[in-house]
Each structure stands twice: as structure tokens, then as C-alpha cells.
Amino acid sequence: MARKLLLEHINVPGINTFDVYRSKGGYAAVEKALKTLTPDEVVEEVKKSGLRGRGGAGFPTGMKWSFLAKPEGVERYLVCNADESEPGTFKDRYLMTYIPHLLIEGMIVASFALGAKTSYIYVRGEMMPQIRILEKAIAEAKAKGFLGKNILGTDYSLELYVQPGGGAYICGEETALLESLEGKRGNPRIKPPFPAIAGLYGCPTVVNNVESIAAVVPIINEGGDEYAKLGIGRSTGTKLISAGGNLKKPGVYEIDLGLPVEEFLYSDEYCGGIANGKRLKAVVAGGSSVPILPANLFMKTINNEPRLMSYESLADGGFVSGTMMGSGGFIAYDEDQCIVRNTWNFARFYHHESCGQCSPCREGTGWMEKVLHRLEYGHGKMSDMDLLVDVSKKIEGNTICPLGDAAAWPVASAIRHFRDEFEWHVTHPHEATTRNFGIAHYADPLPKLEATAS
């Protein structure tokens, strides 16, 4: 059983209240950081830990913090990105619902490290219960002197605010989030300048994912070097994976990075295998925007090495035979799932959520959705697959923000790996509306873990 850092006390009754959280060693990181460390030392610890951004891109958090411009007399801000709306990802919501003080503790330490006097948690608008939980937690922390003026008797003061979002996926893009936080329409800004130079209200700003900020707490408690011992290679520490789809035990799991995917999928400690005794067909490893992989390519890399749950191993093979860690939204598909329908569903999501600012994404996402809809309902043509690949290429990389890429990758990868299924939808239009293509050769040889050591 691997060690849990974030979810260690998740099952303690009442952990969402300040007193229980404190009695389990909570807010020790705040005490340690504010009383014994300087802000630069905190940044140094995070750098040493090798923590990489948990929101999707995997950019080292310590590096991001050290890029923050520090001009005299200008406010600096820390913004927590809790606008989690990627299909398949629900780890941040879980964290905020059950252990909100962990996030607040992380926010205090991170704000101290960056010298921010005001910090914001931008929560997705649909997560109203979580917003109330956070506000209650903030009030508790403030009453105990962990927020507000002169925290713990030091001369550091911090105000923490929760901002409900407008309910748009695009507001999870960091510059769109800042626009939305400023009260404007949530359109991504054109970079440069990056938020580290001119972010919220034109001031230097750091935007971090909920999980990245929460991970600062164990890093400060145990030291960056200790944290870096967990994990594998440049993927250090633990990661929350929100597993969903046709699994026996879907849910949020904290894993050490570097866990073999086979163990994650089939061991009883984690997902427990595929539900109803079916076989695995495909996996989306990190939320809807990463490339989908068929079972055989997901289990083993193209060099026939077992794949691990780490940033590097999942990306092994590039876009030809690899995928990405993304935000940790793990979706498994069994043999009865239709990849065409799933791709259409994703495309529909991105069409709905495109902000409409730049032309390739605004027009291209709608076009892809319509073509996929036609394919799914048996009115497609053989040329549609090439058309989709071409349109996705025209979108990818030519847009202001990564939403264009996120919309293009699932479509391009589904056609790359499941082309025969798309073709079957064209050649058998009547069957395509009544039954599914099935598993074909994607799961051969069928990987299955023998009795798991529990």
C-alpha cells in the first residue's frame, strides 16, 4: 500500500472541520513556513521537490513561481484554478468537498512564498456546494488566526477570497480565468505577456491548480527532497487520478507516480479491473483532451515496455503511439463502447465550449462535431475521416489558447487508432445505429494481471 500524502486522513470523520483537521497535524506547514522559513526558502523547497503542475500541462511549479516578476510597489496575486470542467476529471472537486482545509493551508503557504497579500480561489460556477464548503472553511481558519492580519503573530497578512466562475470550460485557461476574475468576458488573452509578468489587474500573478497547491503542504512538512524520493524520474510525488468509465471501482485514487498502469487498472487496491467481466477496449488517460489509446498500446509502449503512470511514460511514443498525463481524468472503455460516439461526444463538448474568439477553433470545432454526428448516425462518407484529420490539423497549434489543441487531439487520435471502426460506420450504416463495432484487435493480446498481491 503506497503512502498517501494528500488523502491520508480523508476517511477521518469531520476532517472538513478546522478542529479535526488541526488535530491530525493540519496547518503545521503554515506554522513551519511562516515561522522558520523565508519566502525564497519555500520556493526553493518546491523547486527541489520537482512538483509538476497537476492541472494538465505538467509545468514545474517551482519554476513557475520563480518566474514571477517582483517589481517594487506592485501587488502580486496567487490565483487557485478550481475551474475543473474537463470531462473525466473530478479530483479537485473531491479534494475541495472532503478536505477543504488542505487547499486553504496550501494557499496560505503558497501566497507567503510568492508574497501575495490577496489570493483568490476561482471555483467553477456549477460547484456551488464546494464554494460554500470553502467559504465556511475560510471563516473557520480566519477565526483561528490563520488568515487575515498578522497570521500567527508574524507580520504576514493574507486575505483569501472564493470566486464562483461563470460556468465555462474556457475559464479554466489561466488568462481567460484572470479575465473572468476581473469581471470581463472570459476570453483567453494573447500571450505574451504571460501572467507572471502581467496577470490579474495587470499585476504579476501565478495561477495554479488545486492539487498543485495542496501538494505544497506535504512538501513543506517533509521537505522537498523527501517528496522528490516518491515517484519516478522527473515525475515526482503523488498524483490524484479520477478513474471513471467501465471500471469495477471508479473513484479518486492517490497514486505514486510511476505505478504500472496494469496494476492501477487491475489491482483491487485501485480500479479493480473492468466491470462485469468485460475486456478493455480503449483508455483516455488524462481527461478528454488527451489522445485516446487502444488497450494494447496503452498497456505496453511501442518498444514493448510496460507503461507506467508518469508524465514521461504516458507520453512515450509522442502522438503516434502515446498519450499524456493531462489532468488525471482516467476513463476506461470496455468492449461495448462505441469510439465514434465517444469522439462525437467529446467534439460536441469542445464545440459548445469554444469561446469564439479565434477563427480556427470557433468554426473548426463545430465542423468536426457535425461530421462526427453524421458518421455516428450512419450518414458518413469514406472521405470524412481524412476530412476530420485535415480539419483537426488546421486547428491544432493555430489558436490563441490550448482549447484548439484539446479539441483536435481526441479526434485525430481516435481516427489514427480506430480507423476501421469509423470505416465500419460508413460501410454498415444500419448496423452502426443498432449495435457496436466491438473490440476487434485492440485488446490482443489481452493483458490481465494474475492474482494481485494485496
Binding site: 464545440h351 469561446c355 488546421k394
Partner: protein, 332 residues
């Protein structure tokens, strides 16, 4: 700062965008711009037609940029090397963008007042394919009158946001903006309120397509049948420069617009009195005929067959990419 665009070196000031550096060089290497407007702060970066490839970041950091960048919003660095029409990737990406811009555009040029001075028309003619691959319904909107002088035909809009910037920066208070998101987003006023402002007419001039049209000129004439003449008057409005182009048909002034430079940008903005109310010759001091490029449809009365640029004839990759066009040339 020295920057090289398609092999042409030029010295520019720090902070200049690649697009403006290219405009200083001029000629075929200037990237097209549908949303960038040099007079409007913050515009640009949205239409993605001006994408270019940066093959060398700067003298200090010679790494190329990983993606194509929007030249209107990327500032030059010392020693930067940029490829525009010499890069097959750029030509391919631009073709893609033009195709995307056109899939929801009604292509009603025969009845559109903007035809002849429409940037999208020029762009489509130059970079677009003759046939569309889009086989679905196009989005449509009802026409809206915003005020008694301006009509909004949202179906034609390419969402360049220029008019929003005009409303933000030229007029006193902003009452129109973007509603909704994605391909159903639209320009609109707050609950269809009329735009009532001295400078609101400038949204017509900045619109690259026929989405915002002058109701005093609608369906009066095709632009290529009119004669542009430069004129000025002493305008009472202190913010208005009073320098305009009058568009004559016979003896009558049928339209007044701001003077536009070779990139279709108004040199200075004019007020609504000059634009809509002063339509008699004796209101104005005539300066002389407006110079119109001989390539323009306004001058030659028809669209010329586009000759491929010289570089296209020498680069085998570009030749392959423009094969259809060569075939069309020989057929004609």
C-alpha cells in the same frame, strides 16, 4: 532592431510587431490581417490569417518558435528571422484559416454592399479554395437595426471584434459587445438598444466584411461604379478631423467614409455628422481624386486573375501546394 522577413532585412524600433515591420517593407510579404487594426489598441490576434513562422527567435536566443505565431501581436526581437510566403506551413495554415472563416459566411457577395472593398473577398480570392468542403447549414441571424443609420447583418460577421474596440475606445460609452460563445456568438447591443453616439458610424469603416453597413448607402450602388474623391470640411466636432473620401455617382455624393490606407484602415476617424448628414458637394472642399491601386476592383471594375507570386514558381513545395491554381491559370 534588425529583423528579416522572407529574406528582406529591415531596421525597426523595439516593440514593433512583425506585421508592422512587414508593412514597412511592403509588397507581397505583408501578411493579411482581418482583425488587426493599427488605430485600435488591443486589436488583433483573433482571426489567425496573419500567422507567420519564426525560424530564428533572436540574435541572443536563435531557437525557432515552436508554433506559427500571429504576426500582429508578436513583437520583433533583434536578429529575428521570419518566414511568411516562403514557408509552405504558413501558406497551408492560412488556407485553413480562410476556409474556416468562409464556412459560416453566407457568400452573398452579389447582394452585399461591401463587395469590392471586402477584405474577406480579397482573402478568399487569394488564398481560399474554389470549392467548399463544408456540407452543413450555415449559421444565420436576423438582421438588426442598431440606430437609424447602421444595420447589423450578423450572418456575415467573422467576429474580428474591431467594432467592439471602436465602441470601447472611440465612443464615450460602450453599449455593444459579444453575446454567447463559440460559433453562435454574435455582435449585439444590449437588448437591441440603438447605438446613439457621435462616432458610432466608424464601426462601418472598421468592419472588414459586410456585417455593419451604412443604411444611407445600402443597395444604392456597387462600389466599383462610384468615383472616390478626397475632401475635407471644418467640422464643429473637436474630435473629428473632417478629412473624408466622398464617393460620387454622377453628380451626387452617395457615400462618405473615412480615408482608408492601402491596408483598408481608416487614417483618422470621422463623426456621424460628416458621414451621414453632409451629402452635398458644397458642404465640402474637394482636394482631388482618391488614388486607388490599379489592382483594386474599384479601379479595374473586375477581379483580375491572380498570378502566383514569383516565389511560388521557384519553390517546389509551394508549387505542389498551389497546383490547382496553376491548372486554373493554364485553363484560362
Amino acid at each position: 532592431m534588425k529583423v528579416t522577413i522572407d529574406g528582406f532585412p529591415i531596421e525597426v524600433e523595439a516593440g514593433t510587431s512583425i506585421l508592422n515591420a512587414a508593412r514597412l517593407i511592403g509588397g507581397d510579404i505583408v501578411p493579411p490581417a482581418m482583425c488587426y487594426y493599427s488605430k485600435l489598441e488591443g486589436s488583433g490576434g483573433k482571426c489567425r490569417t496573419c500567422l507567420v513562422q519564426v525560424t530564428k527567435g533572436s540574435e541572443k536566443d536563435p531557437r525557432p518558435m515552436p508554433k506559427l505565431v500571429a504576426s500582429c501581436r508578436t513583437t520583433v526581437m533583434d536578429g529575428m528571422e521570419v518566414k511568411n510566403i516562403t514557408s509552405p506551413e504558413v501558406i497551408e495554415a492560412r488556407k485553413g484559416v480562410v476556409e474556416m472563416l468562409l464556412i459560416n459566411h453566407p457568400l452573398d457577395c452579389p447582394v452585399c454592399d461591401q463587395a469590392g472593398e471586402c477584405h474577406l473577398q480579397d482573402l478568399g480570392y487569394e488564398h481560399g479554395a474554389a470549392k467548399t468542403r463544408y456540407e452543413f447549414d450555415r449559421r444565420t441571424f436576423e438582421k438588426i437595426d442598431i440606430g437609424d443609420k447602421i444595420q447589423l447583418h450578423m450572418t456575415r460577421c467573422i467576429l474580428c471584434y474591431r467594432c467592439v474596440f471602436v465602441a470601447d475606445q472611440i465612443t464615450d460609452h460602450r453599449i455593444h459587445g459579444i453575446l454567447n460563445r463559440g460559433d453562435h456568438s454574435e455582435i449585439s447591443t444590449y437588448i437591441q438598444k440603438a447605438v446613439d453616439n457621435d462616432f458610432s458610424g466608424n464601426v462601418i469603416d472598421v468592419c472588414p466584411v459586410g456585417a455593419l453597413t451604412d443604411k444611407t448607402f445600402r443597395f444604392k450602388n456597387r462600389v466599383w461604379f462610384t468615383k472616390p474623391v478626397e475632401a475635407h470640411r471644418e467640422c464643429e466636432n473637436p474630435k473629428c478631423c473632417g478629412k473624408v473620401t466622398l464617393w460620387y455617382k454622377g453628380e451626387d455624393v452617395i457615400r462618405v467614409t473615412a480615408r482608408k490606407d492601402e491596408y483598408g484602415e481608416a487614417e483618422e476617424f470621422i463623426c456621424n455628422t460628416c458621414r451621414f448628414d453632409k451629402k452635398k458637394t458644397n458642404d465640402w472642399v474637394i482636394e482631388g481624386p482618391r488614388k486607388i491601386s490599379h489592382k483594386s476592383v474599384i479601379n479595374s471594375n473586375h477581379y483580375d486573375t491572380l498570378h502566383p507570386l514569383p516565389v511560388v514558381k521557384t519553390n517546389p513545395v509551394l508549387m505542389e501546394a498551389n497546383k490547382e491554381q496553376f491548372e486554373r491559370e493554364t485553363r484560362l
